[in-house]
């Protein structure tokens, strides 16, 4: 029922991309997104698309999983495209009643759509190929220097990994409670907005109670095992760069330079 949310879900398989250090993938996604905002022509986007296609190919994740993540932003995408299409001033191409579609509008709308789609798909690639734990480990390591500014980096990373860990558990719990209430005749699907919001009460109350109970149990279990925060804590599997990671960084650099150079050229 609730299982089709891919953004932030790991697809387990063996591939080159899966084996990369999470820091490579995080920086890679960062720079990929930055590159998307540097382009001034379509050649840049073409390079970006090819690069992403290559990465997806290497990751061995079926393409339909990437597209699943897109579903959640279809609405946003439509609004963006709509506004850009109709509200950009310039030379008109078609005019329908009071609405004008301009050449500039078409260009802007398609760039926007491309940019948004690539952005979502590229971050999906990262989350589909990296386990949540690896991801937070990578982030913790990357944010390490911020400790100098008294930022509780370890605690933030721990909170994030716990939150991520709880998502599937809570989804499962939601599914279970939903089924139990449907078995008692609850109706979550029909009725107007107000009625549907009211129908959520039998779902949300038990869900919150169980979330609090779980959080409480977890805190207890962590304390029982002497967890006391990040100071002086070592890792069982520390992150260490390997040869493939340096190669990936090199590939990334080449992509970035080439795509931005081509993307900002005027023909």
């Amino acid at each position: 029922m609730l299982r089709d949310i891919t953004l932030g879900q790991y697809y387990s398989t063996e591939s080159l991309i899966h084996k990369l250090d999470p820091r490579v993938k995080l920086w890679g996604t960062c720079f990929y997104i930055i590159s998307l905002f540097c382009f001034k022509n379509f050649v840049g986007y073409l390079v970006a698309m090819l690069f992403l296609a290559l990465v997806i190919r290497l990751s061995k994740v079926p393409f339909r999983f990437m597209v699943k993540g897109m579903k959640s932003i279809v609405f946003l995408l439509l609004i963006t495209v709509g506004f850009n299409l109709f509200l950009t001033p310039g030379t008109p191409v078609v005019s329908l009643w009071k609405l004008k579609i301009t050449w500039e509008g078409i260009v802007l709308a398609s760039t926007m759509a491309l940019r948004l789609s690539l952005l979502i798909i590229s971050s999906s690639v990262m989350t589909l190929t990296t386990t949540p734990n690896n991801l937070t480990d990578g982030m913790e390591k990357m944010m390490g220097p911020l400790k100098l500014f008294k930022l509780p980096v370890h605690e933030v990373a721990m909170m994030m990994s716990i939150a991520l860990r709880f998502i599937p558990i809570l989804l499962e719990e939601t599914d279970k409670i939903m089924k139990a209430q449907i078995a008692r005749g609850a109706d979550f699907e029909s009725g107007n907005l107000f009625k549907r919001a009211k129908a959520m009460v039998p779902l949300l109350v038990p869900l919150f109670i169980s979330a609090f109970r779980r959080a409480n149990d977890l805190a207890m279990a962590m304390e029982a095992r002497c967890y006391r925060g990040g100071e002086g804590r070592t890792k069982m599997k520390p992150l260490i760069y390997k040869k493939q990671d340096y190669l990936a960084y090199a590939g990334l650099l080449i992509y970035f330079v080439v795509s931005v150079a081509l993307g900002r050229m005027t023909f």
Binding site: K176, I177, A180, I182, R184, G185, D187, P202, P206
Partner: protein, 282 residues
């Protein structure tokens, strides 16, 4: 009037990398007014099977007929089915949400569209049937003990007056006294109202005394099926799949092996004691 399962298959997560074939080609028939026990070890597919019976989970293959009608027919009224086949989930206390016990039990009948008077009558009746003391009716359900919560949850389903009541491990985590009380009340329901009852359990002892028929599940399929005595006579097969027959079956079989001529089909302690006494006096 019966429930018929015709070659039911179910696969969890069909489009993921790790599909789980939870039910494999299940064919069963459940008669009206029967008390059926379903046993099987953890992960054998009991809960999954039970969720098929009221249409909460749709089989990947096969058909289910309730009173002769295919519940997967496009114009079959699922809501009606759910009011006829009441399902009490494993750990049902996690579904309580109202401010007091009584209103929580009213939730089911209210969803059936009954008027207030009928709803309250049914809720009161259901709470009495599960043996909850009157002074707890207006307490918050979250302040009750585990066993009391369990009763409230069962009452919540009973109040819908189902024709078939499915209980998924109603006794898990209860003490022996609470367990016996709940099972006795369920048995009483069956004899008094003629309700069909399906009871899921891990424990043979639980079901041996009460049920008419036992279905043993193993790894998604039906391993054995029949009256308790017949099923327990296959105690070696049961052991091979990680289940056990009641203790008395073992004791009687030991007696027999050592030369005492006892009938090994007794399933309760009382019956076994009588049987041993009879054999010794001869």
């Amino acid at each position: 009037m019966s429930i018929i399962l015709d070659h039911i298959n179910y696969i969890y997560g069909e489009d993921t990398t790790t599909p789980v074939h939870a039910l494999k080609d299940i064919c069963l028939q459940i008669q009206d007014g029967e008390f059926v026990g379903i046993i099987g070890h953890t992960g054998s597919g009991k809960s999954t099977l039970m969720q098929h019976l009221n249409g909460l989970v749709r089989a990947t293959g096969g058909h289910i007929y309730y009173n002769g009608e295919d519940i997967y027919d496009r114009d079959y009224d699922m809501k009606k089915l759910r009011s006829k086949v009441g399902l009490v989930f494993q750990y049902p206390e996690h579904q309580l949400f109202e401010i007091d016990v009584f209103s929580d039990v009213c939730f089911g009948p209210k969803n059936l569209g009954l008027d207030r008077k009928e709803t309250e009558l049914r809720a009161y009746d259901a709470l009495r049937k599960v043996g909850l003391p009157n002074e707890l009716f207006y307490q918050s359900p979250f302040e009750l003990s585990g066993g009391q919560k369990r009763r409230v949850a069962i009452a919540g389903v009973l109040a819908m007056k189902p024709e078939v009541l499915i209980l998924d491990e109603p006794t898990a985590g209860l003490d022996p006294k609470g367990r016996d009380e709940i099972l006795q009340q369920v048995k009483k329901l069956q004899t008094e109202t003629g309700m069909t009852i399906l009871l899921v359990s891990h424990s043979m002892e639980d079901v041996a005394e009460y049920v008419d028929r036992i279905i043993v599940m193993n790894d998604g399929s039906v391993l054995l099926e029949g009256a308790p005595r017949d099923v327990f006579s296959h105690y070696e097969e049961l052991e091979a799949v990680g289940l056990a027959a009641p203790q008395v079956t073992y004791i009687l079989n030991e007696f027999r092996k050592n030369g005492l001529d006892v009938d090994t089909s007794a399933i309760t302690i009382g019956e076994a004691a009588q049987e041993i006494a009879r054999a010794l006096h001869r």
